[in-house]
Amino acid sequence: YAETDSEYVKAKGTLVVGITVFQPMDYKNEAGEWLGFDADLAKAFAESLGVKAEFQEIEWNNKILELNGRNIDCVWNGMTLTSEVLASMACSKAYCNNAQVVIVPANVAEKFQSVESVKGLNFAVEHGSAGMEVAQANGFKTTNVQDQATALMEVASGTADAAIIDSLMAAAMVGKGTGYENLTYTVALNSEEYGVGFRKDSDLADKLNAFFDAKYNDGSIQKLAETYKIQAALIKQ
Amino acid sequence: MKILEVNNIRKTFGNVEVLKGIDFSLDKGQVLSIIGSSGSGKTTLLRCLNFLETPDAGEIIVNDEVLFDAAKSHITSESQIRKNRLHFGLVFQSFNLFPQYTALENIMLAPRLLAAENNYNGKSKSEFLTQLESQANEILAQIGLSERKNNYPYQLSGGQCQRVAIARALILKPDILCFDEPTSALDPELTGEVLKVIRGLSEQKTTMIIVTHEMEFARDVASKVIFMSDGEICEQGSPSEIFENPKEERTRRFLLRYSGK
């Protein structure tokens, strides 16, 4: 391999970005093109390196395999910086705030507005996710599923009482005008941050940090955040 | 003394009339040989006698009891048919021994099940079984297979299998024992031992109907010969009448084919 990760990426001319479908960070428009807050930023970052961004959907369970096996170059997909993530990847600074929120059917939402009130519920959480960690920390009963979308479906199908997912995702996927109109989100169980993951020892994490600083200073990140209505969650760089 | 009377048996498969009115009768202790070319209906006739096929018309009378009357056949119960079958025994061309049972078990299975239904005719089960086994052993000795009684069919030669099949039919003491080409699935060398057993039975005055292609044997052992052709009895008579002075052209032509000249 090339000396550093950035040389490796430049040599092949593409930055392969590992993603899953996650509104509003990464998703496809009706023409089939990738867009979203993360997707747009990744395109810009790749451009700054002089390479092309290539988006690759992955099985979220396999993200570390994908990264270490060099099938992708980074995981940039609203990834919460959990202790496990920090331990196994070289991560950028946090760029976005997030919270783990409780999803329940809208018709019973009133009963579940506090951490205390949701204690007895049966939760669906994504296996290995920040949501799972929070649930365990609170001593909740959980069922671990493959991804957050499945966790939502578990609540919709009644196979779980509630789910814990990212607040950003919740904002985009549940409630009026979404596919899950009968669900809503209530309590936030923690606050946490999103970051971008690279291979361990990669120099790209630092390069991305510098890129974030520059873009924050010229105000373009803020504008992008407004486009996707997540300006409230943005972290100052 | 007439043991069997067959009147006007007809059988149609689809729109092919396979039996076109068969009439014949048989006296107790007689041996009847049925010969005829392939497809003439010999097997179908035996199957009718054993109630494996239901004739479309005709009667079957055994010992003056009407076992079958086509006109009433639809009201005959399953269990009545079962009883009727026991007047006849049938030995198949391909033996049809039960492969999972030894020779002895093959012979004892049917009488054992039958007796179990009737509470062993008032005997104790073990008493009955002892009696049955000694009876089976006797028959095995008669057919010369005492030493192979604990062998499975696959361990027996074709000739031995056929002899077990004969024993299996004999133990139920049928009035009339039928054979459908009992040696045609056998090596020529093994044919002899089966024919010897049948010959022995005829000497003991067992009433038998034998469908066979062994012309020499048919002539030898039969008291009466029927030549079938195309679903009809073309000619019947004593062996010497049929084999030495066939009246019908068809009979003559059929017999000629066997010499290969």
Binding site: N68, E84 | L114
Partner: protein, 228 residues
Amino acid sequence: MELIIKQMPVVINALNAGFVQTLKLFSITLLGAFPLGLLIAFGSISKITPISVITRLFIWIIRGTPLMIQLLIVYYFPGLVLHNPIWGGGESGRFTAAAIAFVVNYACYFSEIYRGGILSVPVGQQEAGLVLGMTKRQIFFHVTLLQMIKRIVPPISNEIITLVKDTALARIIALQEIIWAGQAFMKGSHGISGAIWPLFFTAFYYLIFNGIVTLALTKLEDKMNYFR
């Protein structure tokens, strides 16, 4: 390498737990599919046309779609479409749903094998029984059944070997069988994260499981060879 040796006991423990689920699913599928398959086979050769037509259509649909989709439908359909989440969300509900999907799927495959087995016992065996004055019931139990079993052992064996591997599909509804347990170490579990070898290591479990099942089936086949 040293790391692997240190992690080994933890991993083995977790994989064993996953393997127990695999094993449970395997056994219950067999126990359920053997009798259900026979029932379906009788349905498919029934002389009552509606029964046989419906049964055959059902078999065709089940055999024509991936078990993966069947699992998803059995588990999520009641809640999502009927608004009646009969399974509950716990591991035991998932297991029940998985077991039902597997049993039905395998019963359909078995039923076709049974059907072939029943039809392949020569009709001469039945006729021999009839001629000896046996009833149809007696013929089925004393003559046909064992011969049928002998004939279906090899194809059923193939299906059983396939089942060993198919159990892995249950992870789609989050049943934590052995591959799930192996993958957990990639994401972080029991204080180990980013470890891939446990996942690949599950292959050995399958090989050994498979070997044992194959051996047992060969034994069974041998046992049936006392007759031909």
